[in-house]
């Protein structure tokens, strides 16, 4: 059943993408218009629309590129490093 569901969705990838984009857009509009941010912990959360969306994108960029840089700086090494 799970396999069939995944195959079903993969066959209609374009529709899934469009629906997901609509869902995200609706969610974003709701968070900006419909959610009371007056009880947020910081000024930024209360006054920047879609603060957590921006924060998330920046965080992903920072995490992924930092991990990449950190790994390539010599931390990631060959698998048999300790076997010699």
């Amino acid at each position: 059943m799970i396999t069939q569901l995944i195959d079903y969705l993969q066959e209609r990838l374009q529709t899934v993408k469009v629906l997901s984009a609509i869902a995200v857009a609706v969610m974003l509009v709701w968070t900006i218009v419909g959610v009371d941010t007056s009880h947020a912990h910081t000024w930024m959360e209360a006054h920047i629309p879609g603060f957590w969306a921006i924060f998330t994108l920046l965080a992903c960029l920072v995490l992924i590129f930092f991990a990449k840089w950190f790994g390539n700086s010599g931390i990631m090494t060959r698998e048999d490093y300790y076997d010699d």
Binding site: M27, L57, A59, C60, L63
Partner: protein, 596 residues
């Protein structure tokens, strides 16, 4: 000692000792019933809070085996519950020793949780360390033996720190009770005890043992290990070090550190190990914040974490069990082969990523809220950043690299891949159900929290909107950047490099200079010592032969000659002479006897 108190650890230990006597067809039933009985005992204890099992030891020390209070209740509950799930997961394992080691390990954990003083704590602490080492050693894969030794050595070191700490504290205060330590008046023993406990919680720089050991344990062993050691340590930190500011810093560092390493990792269970380091970071930070909400958050997150991390380790174990592979570079595209495992791994992944209606959502946010409310803004934002990383790694990267994307499996691996046996399914289903239950039915978890007076409502509109934004945009970022998080055949160097290299240095030292000195000494001994010894031995041999033997043999020869002479003189064959000598001899004897 209260007569109705039976320590849950005792049930497991006795159960483990009796296990070899139980034969099929009762064995599986017995395997299920022992942890179940332990769980029932824990529930019974939760109904009877107080101090039980107090024993006077050597007329001097009061040992407390059963401190049942708000903090120990929730940890005892989840540990006993996980013992059932873990045992069911390992039901197919025929080797009794693995079950015995696992039960002793859980017994150690429960013993620590209910202990009221450092002596009992230390006893069970060491039981945990030794029993869990066997869960690594029972794995026959390459590298497991060495990993087990490293694990044991590191934990022995941690145990010594703890021992030093509480002995110094006893010397200074005369007190062995395990209670909150004074933050205002810290002593050397405070830091030693903290370091000893932190080692088990895998707080940097004492963390490298965790991914190293958990990735090398047996499939079922790692399911046990992921639940008990670190969370028991979190419990002890919450008990002794609540409100210690340094723990906030260390907790945030370990949360970030773990997630960065998890992003680079190629081994499934090592990735999950790094995830544990990261998630335990939240708990350590929560302990450091120390407010009622933060401690509640720590306990709730430990509770939720045991379930979803157990589920993730079980799903990862199912993949390893069927394919025999644990590296992303040897897996991929397996969703058709193992759909149920995929389902359970996704449930675990979205629970750890704090999806609404799943366990992480109602627990993790409590710690983040507590940090914002206590004005630790940087910590709050950094922990949120880590939760984004968590979704990237455990919610997306992990299932993607195993079940979707490029198929990197060999033909053999693809043929072997299949969903696991029924007992593994049952254990995963139970854990998945509990993840959902914790997220949907709040009183189940919240009624057990140590500070029930603090209200927390996770399902507010603002928290939901924040979470949905984070999840949606993390997924978006993953879609565009997933090639940066791909599988790469590599290992990541970590601080264990130092002790591995130190160990290697010691080995070199032993094999080269020390061996050379030993060889030289052996040669010198052979040349000088052995030669002179032979000379001396030869001399004594000569002396023995010619001196001592000469005297002895000479005396013997003399006696023999005298005897022969006497025979010649006295026994000539004449009967009269013989009678004469005999009578004379008898007369002399008689006279001598009479006279004397």
């Amino acid at each position: 000692m209260t007569t109705s108190f039976i320590h849950p650890a005792l049930i497991l230990i006795c159960g483990a000792l009796l296990l070899p006597c139980i034969k099929e067809p009762f064995r599986k039933l017995y395997l299920c019933s022992v942890p179940l009985l332990t769980f029932l005992d824990v529930i019974y204890l939760n109904w009877h809070p107080g101090v039980h099992g107090v024993v006077l030891f050597m007329d001097k020390w009061t040992l407390t085996f059963g401190r049942v209070d708000n903090l120990s209740m929730i940890f005892g509950f989840i540990m006993a519950l996980m013992a059932i799930i873990g045992t069911v997961y390992g039901l197919h394992v025929r080797d009794n020793w693995q079950h015995i080691a696992a039960w002793f390990y859980v017994a150690g954990s429960l013993g620590v949780i209910y202990s009221g003083d450092y002596l009992v704590l230390f006893l069970f602490w060491e039981i945990m360390a030794f029993a869990s080492t066997f869960l690594i050693w029972f794995n026959t894969d390459k590298g497991a033996l060495a990993a087990g030794y490293r694990y044991l050595l590191v934990h022995t070191f941690g145990g010594v720190l703890l021992l030093l700490g509480f002995v110094l504290r006893y010397q200074a205060t005369g007190d062995l009770s395990f209670v909150q330590l004074d933050q205002q008046n810290t002593q050397l023993f405070t830091w030693l005890i903290m370091a000893g406990l932190m080692l088990n919680a895998a707080v940097p720089p004492l963390h490298s043992w965790l991914p190293d050991a958990y990735s090398k344990a047996t499939v079922t062993g790692s399911v046990f290990m992921c639940a008990f050691t670190t969370k028991t340590a979190v419990y002890t930190l919450a008990r002794g070090f609540a409100g210690f500011d340094i723990l906030i810093v260390l907790g945030v560092i370990m949360a970030i550190y773990g997630i960065i390493y998890a992003m680079m990792e190629n081994d499934i269970r090592k990735l999950l190990g790094w995830e544990i380091v990261s998630q335990v970071g939240y708990m350590v930070a929560g302990v450091g914040i120390g407010t009622a909400l933060a401690i509640n958050g720590t306990c709730a997150h430990a509770f939720a974490h045991i379930l979803y991390k157990g589920l993730l380790f079980m799903a990862a174990g199912a993949v390893i069990h069927s394919t025999g592979k644990s590296k992303f570079t040897e897996l991929g595209g397996l969703y058709r082969k193992m759909p149920n495992t995929l389902f359970f791994m996704v449930i675990g992944g979205i629970s750890v990523s704090a999806f609404p209606f799943f366990s992480g959502f109602v627990s993790k946010s409590m710690i983040i809220t507590a940090s914002f409310e206590s004005h630790f803004m940087v910590a709050g934002f950094l922990l949120t950043l880590v939760s984004i990383g968590t979704f990237l790694v455990a919610g997306l990267r992990l299932p993607y690299l195993i079940f979707f994307g490029e198929d990197r499996c060999s033909t053999e691996t693809r043929e072997k891949a299949a969903d696991p046996p029924w007992n593994m399914h049952m254990a995963m289903a139970a854990a998945a159900f509990l993840c959902l239950l914790v997220g949907c039915y709040l009183p189940f978890l919240y009624s057990m929290l140590p500070n029930p007076e603090v209200a927390y409502h996770p399902y507010g509109a603002y928290h939901l909107s924040e979470t949905l934004q984070i999840l949606a945009f993390t997924a978006l970022a993953f879609i565009f950047l997933k090639h940066k998080l791909g599988a790469k055949a590599s290992i990541s160097l970590d601080l264990d490099w130092f002790y591995r290299m130190a160990g290697r240095g010691f080995l070199w030292l032993a094999q080269n200079p020390i061996q050379w000195v030993d060889t030289a000494w052996g040669s010198a001994y052979r040349v000088v010592g052995l030669y002179s010894l032979m000379i001396i031995a030869k001399f004594w041999s000569w002396f023995d032969w010619h001196g001592i033997d000469g005297v002895v043999d000479g005396t013997a020869r003399c006696v023999q000659a005298c005897g022969r002479r006497i025979t010649v003189v006295l026994q000539k064959g004449h009967i009269q002479q013989t009678i004469y000598f005999s009578v004379t001899f008898a007369a002399i004897l008689l006279i001598s006897y009479v006279c004397l």
